[in-house]
Point group: C2
Chain length 331, copies 2
């Protein structure tokens, strides 16, 4: 059996059944690892990688590579409401790379780390056949403030920090060679994949006030991220409204595409937060996010019936569990 | 300028000049990163990678790959006297790898981690053109127990936990196709590179009693590791005696090679500790190591004159700063 036959999801499940024998991880099957260091606090760690053959977009600048590596890691800390304290980078690369290119990657990484209030603090370097950068982010959190994927309860509101669609448009232009309706639109959507930002301020503010019951970032795609929350929490989600970026709407009109399907299935690497919030905390959550300069969009509700559904013209339609998966591509 | 023109050492120096702008790392230019979390303690992190094209030895089993990844990371914690609490693994690999092969890597890693008292707790997986495994080890330490490379003082004894030479013999057989004098010797030296162990018990015992002024592991080769301590501490080291493995002596007699040169320059990935100890602590250090089942060998002294020297027939000969370097090979 090859890795491509099982896909990333099954492979991860399998590997998780081998490790963690001491059962110390407070956040198993979640986006970060939490190691308890006292009755009150936990050490939080997370790794995410940028691999040349999988992640390098056409014409991507080295500063953008370093910056995106940081954002990929920070976004999970954002979703879990954890202050990042520092990051290591493990680098492997061929010997004939320009030193200047690598320097720019680290400059981009350090600059972006500083913008989130922490440093790249070290790492290691070794020879490899292609450029691989693994980020390793660490922090601390009070154990009673840890936000899991599995805490969503029936009746909770489902909300998100941003409109969806820019990355799906960017990938359609870059990887499927669809034409952009305008240069301005192209410039804007490209920024979402070349220079993404994580919703750290928003995530920290929500965690600090303990306003959310479950949280995840949408980096694996909107549909998959909704499924992850629903399945972990053993509930269902009914989506009533997805906030769509105006670039997506314009692009879909131009190409006669369905914007909802694009937002659900063709995105990914979109670093918005998806959270569930008890209705009694809704107003406070909304104003909390606005105070840090963000926006919280109501998109639906947690329901008892398992699965993820979309209300279309008053009818409940099942959302597919599909998006990008490593080793298998777009499913 | 290409990476191969500057080599790993210069590249790392350059990258260190870009990062760490917040100056929070208590162990800069050392083997681990230490982030202060209180007046008393620091969070310790470390990454080291196993890259297929650089580190996979002929006929190496997947369990051994996973195990060696753990040992590479643990050895630096051993040198710094830090208890490892957990480890993440970032994995990238081609889609046509056998799932079973990857499972065995993780089984090897988990088993070895458990033998040192901790778990593999998570990580990430992604597509890549070759197998790359980055380990991220984390722990905590009291700040006044942190052992640096730079603490060696004139008059200190220099000591090591083991005899040298097995890995240099193994590499000569595996990579330079030199013949092994006997199957038994081959089996024994192969174990040193296929199934190495880290000197964790020894390192923890020395740190707990604050008996050493500086410490490093010998994974970059004996000569380079001695230079690292000497240069960081702004002192010199005079080696009087290097404990040599009997396999090395037998191999060098067979091939008419100089065993001292082999031990100094041709080793590497040898996970012994090299420590400096004030003479008044010598007896206590020796018995401390013996109590945990190890052995401490006196090899020389810290001297004022900078550089690393070897006493040969009463004469002081300069040791070269050479060994393996990523991107440049054996220097």
């Amino acid at each position: 059996m090859k890795v491509k036959d099982v896909g990333e999801r099954e492979l991860v499940k399998l590997l998780l059944s081998i490790i963690n024998k001491r059962e110390e991880n407070l956040m198993i099957y979640d986006d970060v690892v939490a190691y308890p260091i006292s009755k009150k606090s936990a050490l939080i760690v997370k790794t995410d990688s940028f691999v040349e053959s999988a992640d390098l977009l056409p014409n991507m600048k080295p500063e953008q590579v370093g910056s995106k590596l940081v954002v990929m890691n920070v976004s999970d800390f954002a979703a879990k409401g954890i202050v990042p304290l520092g990051m290591l980078i493990s680098l492997s690369l061929p010997s004939d790379y320009d030193v200047d290119y690598i320097v720019k990657i680290y400059e981009g990484a350090e600059k972006t780390a500083l913008s989130y209030g922490f440093d790249i603090m070290g790492g290691d370097t070794s020879y490899g056949e292609e450029l691989v950068l693994s980020g390793f982010l660490f922090g601390l959190q009070e154990r009673d403030k840890l936000i899991k994927r599995c805490g969503a309860r029936v009746g909770d509101y489902v909300a998100t920090t941003g409109p969806f669609g820019d990355t799906s448009v960017a990938f359609s232009i870059l990887l499927k060679s669809l034409k952009a309706p305008s240069e301005e639109l192209e410039r804007h959507v490209f920024r979402s994949v070349y220079e993404p930002r994580a919703r750290l301020k928003e995530g920290l503010a929500l965690a600090e006030r303990k306003l959310v019951t479950a949280s995840i970032d949408s980096s694996d795609g909107l549909a998959i991220s909704l499924y992850e929350i629903a399945e972990s929490s053993k509930v269902g989600i009914l989506i009533e409204d997805i906030p769509l970026s105006k670039n997506l709407i314009e692009f879909c009109e131009y190409h006669q595409l369905n914007p909802i399907e694009m937002a659900l299935y063709e995105g990914g690497e979109e670093f918005e937060l998806i959270v569930t919030i008890p209705p009694r905390f809704w107003e406070e959550a909304k104003s909390t996010i606005e105070r840090v300069g963000g926006k919280l969009h109501y998109i639906g509700r947690v329901i008892k019936e398992k699965g993820v559904y979309l209300k279309v013209n008053g009818k409940k339609v099942s959302v597919k569990r599909k998006g990008w998966e490593h080793f298998r591509g777009w499913l």
